[in-house]
């Protein structure tokens, strides 16, 4: 083997090993994050975290019950806005439209998907907070819902399109109208995919903080109804992490563990649902 060839082989092995290292580093980051959160969060989490209100500033103890409920309310509102628009919009794109209108809708959805979350916050502020004159759960849910729309829409459309044409034609040949075909054949055939799309969109907005800063704002107490500012887990993590109190730092870790745990579990469930489904061939 000539020296040159040996050198080339060495370079090849060396560079390919380096790429392997890159992959290793990238994946290791995930386990570092998980490890730190489980370690710091696990030692500071307690029953009080889930059941108590935040303690007054300067006192230790207390929990984030109001933030957990607040996050749940915000996400409920987000789903109420994001899922119908995403789902029915996707049906329009996949089943009814072709050409220009579909292009415009897709373009708008992709544009909306790329908008930085803080800008979504500004939009929700000027659209909901300003007219009502104060921060509210409603405004926060609106902002999160906006972010759910493009994710739900685009992936639901993909899954609807993956349903074989033959199924649609079979239903129509039996005399079903188009919407009956969609409702009783196409959507059931794609339901795993659609569920995955919705779950992933939900998980994505569950951790969003920036759009809530000046829409849902924050609250150290319970937030009755929908028109009051409310605490939420992500915003609590932010305020507690940058505050100068050790006890707050501990609670921020606990909240981080709860939030990340929730998001990763939803992600894993979504992927399991999808992988268990019958693979639908593309036509």
């Amino acid at each position: 083997m000539s020296r040159r060839l040996r050198w080339r082989k060495f370079v090849s092995h060396f560079m390919l090993t380096m790429t392997g290292l890159c992959a290793l580093v990238a994946v290791a980051v995930l386990f570092f994050i998980l490890g730190y959160l489980v370690y710091h969060g696990g030692t500071s989490i307690s029953w009080n975290f889930f059941t108590k209100l935040p303690a007054p500033v300067g006192e230790t103890g207390g929990g984030m019950a109001n933030a957990i409920v607040g996050s749940a309310k915000l996400l409920l509102l987000a789903c109420l806005l994001g899922v119908p628009i995403g789902f029915f919009g996707a049906i329009y794109l996949a089943e009814f439209s072709g050409g220009t209108i579909a292009f415009v809708v897709r373009y708008a959805a992709d544009l909306l998907n790329g908008v930085p979350s803080i800008v979504i916050g500004i939009f929700a502020y000027s659209l909901v907070v300003l007219p009502f004159k104060h921060f509210s759960t409603l405004a926060g849910g609106f902002a999160l819902g906006l972010m759910m729309i493009p994710i739900t829409l685009r992936s639901t459309e993909e899954f609807l399109r993956a349903v074989p044409r033959a199924l649609r034609e079979g239903a129509m040949a039996l005399g079903a109208s188009q919407w009956k075909t969609i409702a009783s054949v196409v959507v059931p055939a794609a339901y795993r995919g659609i569920l995955t799309a919705i779950l992933l969109a939900f998980a994505r907005v569950a951790g969003e903080t920036a759009p809530l800063l000046f829409t849902a704002f924050g609250n150290r107490f319970w937030s009755p109804g929908w028109a009051q500012p409310t605490a939420s887990l992500p915003v609590m993590i932010f305020t507690y992490a940058i505050a100068p109190y050790d006890d707050w730092h501990r609670q921020a870790w606990a909240a981080g563990l709860v939030l990340l745990g929730l998001i990763l579990i939803i992600n894993i469930i979504a992927r399991v649902i999808l992988s268990r489904g019958v693979a639908v061939p593309r036509t």
Binding site: R8, V11, H13, M15, L16, T19, G20, C22, A23, A26, V29, L30, I33, Y36, L37, I85, F88, G89, I91, Y92, L93, F96, S97, I101, V104, V105, A108, L111, L112, G114, V115, P116, S117, I118, V119, G121, I122, F123, Y125, S126, L127, I149, M172, S177, Q178, W179, K180, G207, E208, T209, F214, A241, I242, H249, W253, G256, I263, L264, N267, R271
Partner: protein, 315 residues
Amino acid sequence: MGSRSFLSKLRDGDEIARLVTFIFAGSVVLITLLLVFELWRESYLPRHKFGFGFFVTSVWDPIFDKFGALPFIYGTVVTAAVALLIAVPLGIGAAIFLAELAPARVSDTLQFFIDLLAAVPSVIYGLLGVFIVIPMMRQYIQPALKNSLGFLPFFQGPAYGVGFLTAGMVLAIMVIPYIISVSREVLISVPRDQREAALALGSTRWESTWKVVLPFARTGIMGSIFLALARALGETMAVTMVIGNTPTISASLFSPGYSIAAVIANEFTEATGDLYLQSLIELGLVLFLLTFLLNGMARLLIVVTSQRGSGMGQA
């Protein structure tokens, strides 16, 4: 289907279903237009008062109603640049491993972890940034850089821990999953014959990757980088928590700084006076336009490459 009259479609509910779903789909377009319109309308005051000067002056003084965005633009650009310098080689390297070397099972498993990493919310990165990365930077990395590369203007000044470099590093970690996922897809779409031809000509595995596969996938990989850049520019929470939140323009990466998204996050609720608030909204508009352009270009590049790949595959 074509033979059915409009009336029978109406009776079957088809036209109603079409109309209802159309309203939902149309509302997406409406919302997007409204977003652009609101940003434009709500930034009227600073646009008219400062004009282009808004982008090139660096005084940000709410008390005297003077607003210049240069330090924030500088901070956004510098942190994104640092992030890409770290994330691009790492991300593309990992993508090469996943697409070219790893067996399908390993590749899919690793991709699953990468997807989970992409799902970690930015406030969690911020949390780790505050308690893990900042102390580490202050105690080990910044002193080490100062000792070895301190003659460069980038690595001078006191090591606070917070600053451009820290924000850039946290951003890098956040955008790596996007670069890996998209680049991997693009690399996989490169036709097999390209690799086989290079190997048949006697090239080593790395040479076929470096000289044949990567050039083929170049535009798509550029797309993934633009996508990552758009994410990095618009990223708010993690940056806000580690950049130091001081409007500075300094060549040193150790210096605390500020970014567009961070200043909006910190000052929006405290902004008193219309000009102040609208200046922040104009910053939002700038951020929107930047990410809009980058995302558009990214999509174009990715589509171009994957089409070229499939076209060649069939030929």
